[in-house]
């Protein structure tokens, strides 16, 4: 683990063609890191995420993704992801290959990756057409009961990026509140970056069972205050619901989308500090 500025963390660890997972289940979505990837113009990425929402809508609309592995692609509580739809329905700005799972499938596949397993076994997709359009969904019999169990490949991203509340001086990262799939996504990846709201000398008094990723499970830790906005960081700031609603209009047309991205992402200074300690 090293403490790096966000731009350096991304340029060092995210390459064209990588399988990239930016996780965060509604809470702690790493927007700042995703925007830095956009600014650095990475291409041909395979984007992995249970709930591709605004961040992946932006990355897909900017033409960075060749492929999407996901389980639910919408604007939570609002409606469609117009850029995702435009890519899938009309191939703009480029065609997008999709590999589609259920939440249970993605959760089990990440957990299998974290556990060093080649695949995940669970009970899923029964009676669904999903197994007809996703050849990664197989069924194998339980050797004891004969029941047909579902088996899908483990998810092993080249790099996982998460956002969390705090890091300490050793680069250990503390996650509080809705922790989603972040721990598994980090442990399943070859490389991992955590952006954090703040870096503290010590986590101080805490539950003996606090959710902490040791620094040695991460490649880099970067300071990125409000790095999850417009999603939220439990204990720091609330979800910007108005932004999620406004995005429906911003993203509906290609022109308004591109104008917004130019002003709010491309021309923006990376949200990082050159020196973080």
């Amino acid at each position: 683990m090293e403490f790096l500025g966000l731009s350096e963390a991304v340029s060092r660890h995210v390459q064209d063609g990588d399988q990239v997972a930016l996780e965060g289940f509604t809470h702690l979505i790493p927007f700042a890191a995703g925007h830095e990837i956009i600014r650095q113009g990475r291409r041909d990425l395979t984007l992995i995420r249970m709930t591709p929402d605004l961040l992946y809508d932006q990355m897909i609309g900017m033409g960075m993704a060749r492929k999407l592995i996901f389980s639910w692609g919408g604007n939570p509580g609002v409606g469609s992801l117009h850029r995702l739809r435009d890519a899938v329905e009309r191939g703009w700005p480029q065609p997008l290959e999709i590999v589609e799972h259920s939440h249970a499938g993605m959760a089990n596949a990440y957990a299998a990756g974290a556990a060093g397993m080649p695949c995940a076994f669970f009970r899923g997709y029964r009676g669904s057409d999903l197994s007809k359009v996703n050849s990664d969904i197989r069924f194998v019999p339980c050797p004891f009961t004969g029941e047909e169990l579902t088996c899908i490949p483990a998810i092993r991203p080249d790099v996982t990026i998460i956002h969390a509340q705090k890091a300490d001086r050793e680069g250990n990262v503390l996650i509080e509140g809705i922790m989603g799939i972040q721990k598994e996504a980090v442990l399943a990846a070859r490389l991992a970056i955590a952006t954090v709201e703040e870096i503290v000398d010590d986590f101080g008094p805490r539950s003996s069972n606090a959710v902490i990723l040791p620094g040695w499970t991460l490649s880099a830790v970067s300071l990125a205050p409000r790095g999850a906005h417009p999603s939220y960081a439990h204990g720091y700031y609330a979800r910007d619901n108005a932004f999620y609603i406004a995005w429906d209009t911003v993203s509906r047309e290609r022109e308004s989308f591109l104008a917004w991205m130019k002003e709010h992402v491309l021309h923006k200074v990376p949200q990082d500090r050159e020196t973080v300690r």
Binding site: H103, S128, G180
Partner: protein, 259 residues
């Protein structure tokens, strides 16, 4: 006291919940129904969201499945793998709420695509939690607005199993849970026929005619042997529900949509 069709739907769904239920609640109408039940006749109902919040008691409705409010008012919050492995697949959830862009006569759902999957006319969000909720929860309550475009003879894509294309597919697949036992629409409530599992009209909302239901249903809809009038919302229910929505609008600065 007058009421909207959304209020009728929410109340009808809430009444179907018991104090002993453990519900996997989605956002939108299902959340409203679950929390209305909790705030009226079912104070001990347990609400679980896929974001990992166990026994949450939100004061306002969530706009997203992972709102901070759900975590702050929960007994505890667990990881996503744990929710799907130990709590959903573990068979602990009695009721799961689902809806979709399309439903067929057997309560199967499409939330994936309109048109051909490879070249969709409309790409929908996809399965999310639905596919495994449908097979792991004790029973499924469906909530959808009636329209010929969404109540269809043939789904473009079967994302989530109801009673299957034969009405008997659950048994054939060795699935022991009951599947869709209730479908609440803006016109009526529907229940599976004991024989065929085809969803049949069980009650018509006040002022709604069989003709209106036929017009809005894309298949030749069947009616139960006895079709009652759905008891309209009573003022106590409406007051609690409207107060909940008012708190929600104030908290979010916006109304609450649905997935």
């Amino acid at each position: 006291m007058t009421y909207t069709s959304a209020e009728m739907m929410t109340v009808a769904a809430a009444r179907a919940l018991s104090d002993r239920d453990i519900c996997f609640a989605g956002i939108g109408l299902p959340s409203a129904a679950c929390n209305l039940a909790r705030l009226t006749h079912a104070p001990h109902i347990r609400l679980i969201y896929e974001s990992g919040t166990l026994e949450t008691r939100p004061d306002v409705l969530p706009l997203s499945i992972g709102d901070g409010e759900l975590c702050e008012t929960a007994l505890t919050t667990v990881s996503i793998p744990e929710i799907f492995q130990y709590w959903l697949q573990g068979g602990r959830i009695t009721i799961g709420f689902l809806s979709g862009a399309q439903v067929d006569r057997f309560g199967n759902l499409n939330t994936t695509a309109i048109g051909d999957y490879q070249n969709p006319k409309v790409r929908l969000p996809g399965s999310g939690r639905a596919t495994e909720i449908a097979t792991s929860c004790g029973q499924i309550f469906l909530i959808m607005r009636h329209s010929p475009r969404s109540f269809v003879e043939q789904l473009d894509f079967l994302t989530t199993l109801g009673h299957g294309q034969t009405g008997r597919e659950r048994k054939d697949l060795g699935i022991e849970t009951r599947g869709p036992t209730l479908l609440v629409t803006d016109l009526c409530t529907m229940r599976p026929d004991p024989e065929t599992n085809e969803m049949a009209v069980a009650s018509l909302h006040p002022g709604i005619t069989r003709e209106q239901v036929r017009e809005k249903t894309g298949w030749e809809v069947r009616f139960g042997d006895t079709v009652d009038e759905t008891p309209p919302p009573v003022s106590s229910e409406l007051e609690v529900l409207r107060a909940l929505h008012a708190r929600t609008a104030q908290a979010h600065g916006v109304g609450v949509g649905s997935e």
